[in-house]
Amino acid sequence: MAVTTTATGTAPARTAPAPPRRARGALVHWVAVHSLGVAAALFFVLPFVFLFLTSVMDDRQALTRDLWPHTWQWGNYSRVWHTPGFLTWWRNTLLYAGVGTLLTVVSSVPVAYALAKFRFRGRRLSLLLVIAMMMLPPQVVVIPMYLFWAGQLDLSGTLWPLIIPMAFGDAFSVFLLRQFLLTIPDEYLDAARVDGCGELRTLLRVVLPMARPGIAAVALFQFFYAWNDYFGPQIYASDNPAAWTLSYGLESFKGAHHTNWNLTMAATVLVMAPVIVLFFFAQKAFVEGVTLTGVKG
């Protein structure tokens, strides 16, 4: 808003300004927009910069108000890496995020396909239930679920109570995939059926290749969800440090090294890094997915 008002303040459209004035107005507009852009970029980027600078300070300097490291202690990263438990947390997080993502995609695609492309009784109701499930806060059902997994199946202290449900279709993924599949024209499916493809073949050979961007977005979202999940591991894995994930372990890491902000920030960088690297490889799918949740509805 501020940007556009600045522009017209200099060159009101009403007076039909002479060409040189318009050119000057455009320049002012360009400068205003880009300085605002740089200011915003600083707000978004500086925390990362300070985070990183602190992560390579020595133990004593991290307790001072200095912003720039005297000596670059790259060894902080290997100290964190070799902290007991850190590698285990990595393994657990990869297991949770990797297996969970795979199960989610395999189980959600057929459901989304049915909701998007088949007309059956109760379709609208099913869709409403998916949306209700998607909006359900995990805390609402956590107590019966905990009593079921930990009490009856004795799986507390593991991540299985978090992974196994993903084999039954995740509501958010079903919804997102359905929105994506709606954009695939029915004619392609009809053509495949005329050519004698069964439903399964149509799904595997025609729908899946066309839905690849949607599937990529869902897989990424699910991977990030599991990577970032704190509540789930806190409920099911907190009494067994061998089952902690990075998100849960990172906080306790701060507790154990309560004066070492440099090590804590190095650990924080190590937890953020994979997510950001993955984003750079899959930027397009990710942004498409975010857009799909909000706009194409």
Binding site: P12, F168, V287
Partner: protein
């Protein structure tokens, strides 16, 4: 559909009904539940000291945090559509914080805003401002969480950006010919065109605020200097209950006090609030269900 139906029954219908049942019983997880009428509900609303602070904090977050996120999301979305030099770079920089894992981002912000050694304090004092206690001051802990939430506004930015690019160009051109200024164009063309997206952002933001858990909990624990790990006791909502939210109430009642009955009652309050907003979202914007119906 059928595996999903099993999942629906196992992970939604059955536990939800159990939660309703447990909320009317006295239940500690060891002995079988004993019916106790409305006892959990009256306890929650009148005697349990954390419930109303959590509700007040939620209201604060719904108004201020959601409001700030929507305004900043729309602002950065607009800004990005105007940036002509290296727009991709700016967009990526604005978007990156959204990807930071919540625990990591919260830890980083507790450090950055730490009044003693945090860089934010150094910067603020550099321009002559006094840095407040942020996460250790009950008046500032929610504003600090709001700064953290605004930092991660990248998702809304992308959604608003896409919506803004979809506004028909002809409408702007026509308005410009009619002599409408920038504010008039924003007010009469941009806003009406993107109002469904604003509603979407507000309602999903409110639902997120209801479920706000990881950031306030981690901020409170780390700022209080709690040693992490299993079964630890800590002052909920440090400092002075200012970072308590409803999900923390459920956790505190259920997994720290083993009062599953009262925890289920609190969970149902959360459920009722979230579903009320979901209903609003679906009623006001049939588009969520989309074409084909």
């Amino acid at each position: 559909m059928s595996p999903w139906l099993i999942g629906f029954a196992l992970f939604f219908a059955y536990p939800l009904l159990s939660t309703v049942y447990f909320s009317f019983t006295k239940y500690d997880g060891f002995r079988p539940p004993v019916p106790s009428g409305l006892h959990n509900w009256t306890y929650l609303f009148t005697d349990y000291p954390l419930f109303w602070p959590a509700m007040r904090n939620t209201l604060w977050l719904v108004v201020v945090m959601v409001g700030c996120r929507v305004v900043f999301g729309l602002g950065t979305g607009l800004l990005i559509t105007k940036i002509k030099t290296a727009p991709g770079l700016f967009r990526t920089l604005f978007y990156l914080p959204y990807l930071a894992p919540p625990v990591a981002a919260t830890l980083a912000f507790v450090f950055l805003l730490n009044p003693g050694t945090g860089p934010a304090g150094v910067l603020l004092e550099g321009v002559g401002l006094h840095s407040p206690g942020w996460f250790t001051d009950a008046d500032w802990s929610k504003p600090a969480l709001t700064v953290l939430a605004v930092w991660g506004v990248g998702d809304l930015m992308v959604i608003f950006m896409a919506a803004l690019l979809d506004v028909p160009k002809e409408q702007y051109e026509a308005a410009e010919l009619d002599g409408a200024g920038a504010w008039a164009r924003f007010r009469h063309i941009t806003l009406p065109n993107i109002s469904p997206i604003i509603l979407f952002a507000v309602v999903t933001g409110v639902i997120q605020a209801m479920q706000y858990y990881t950031q306030p909990l981690v901020a409170g624990k780390v700022a209080a200097g709690v040693i992490g790990g299993s079964g630890e006791q800590f002052e909920p909502g440090y400092p002075d209950k200012s970072t308590l939210t409803l999900p923390q109430v459920v956790y505190n009642l259920g997994f720290q006090r083993f009062d599953y009955g009262a925890a289920c009652a609190a969970a149902l309050v959360l459920f009722a609030l979230s579903m009320a907003f979901t209903a609003l979202l679906m009623r006001r914007r049939g588009g969520l269900i989309g074409s084909g119906d």
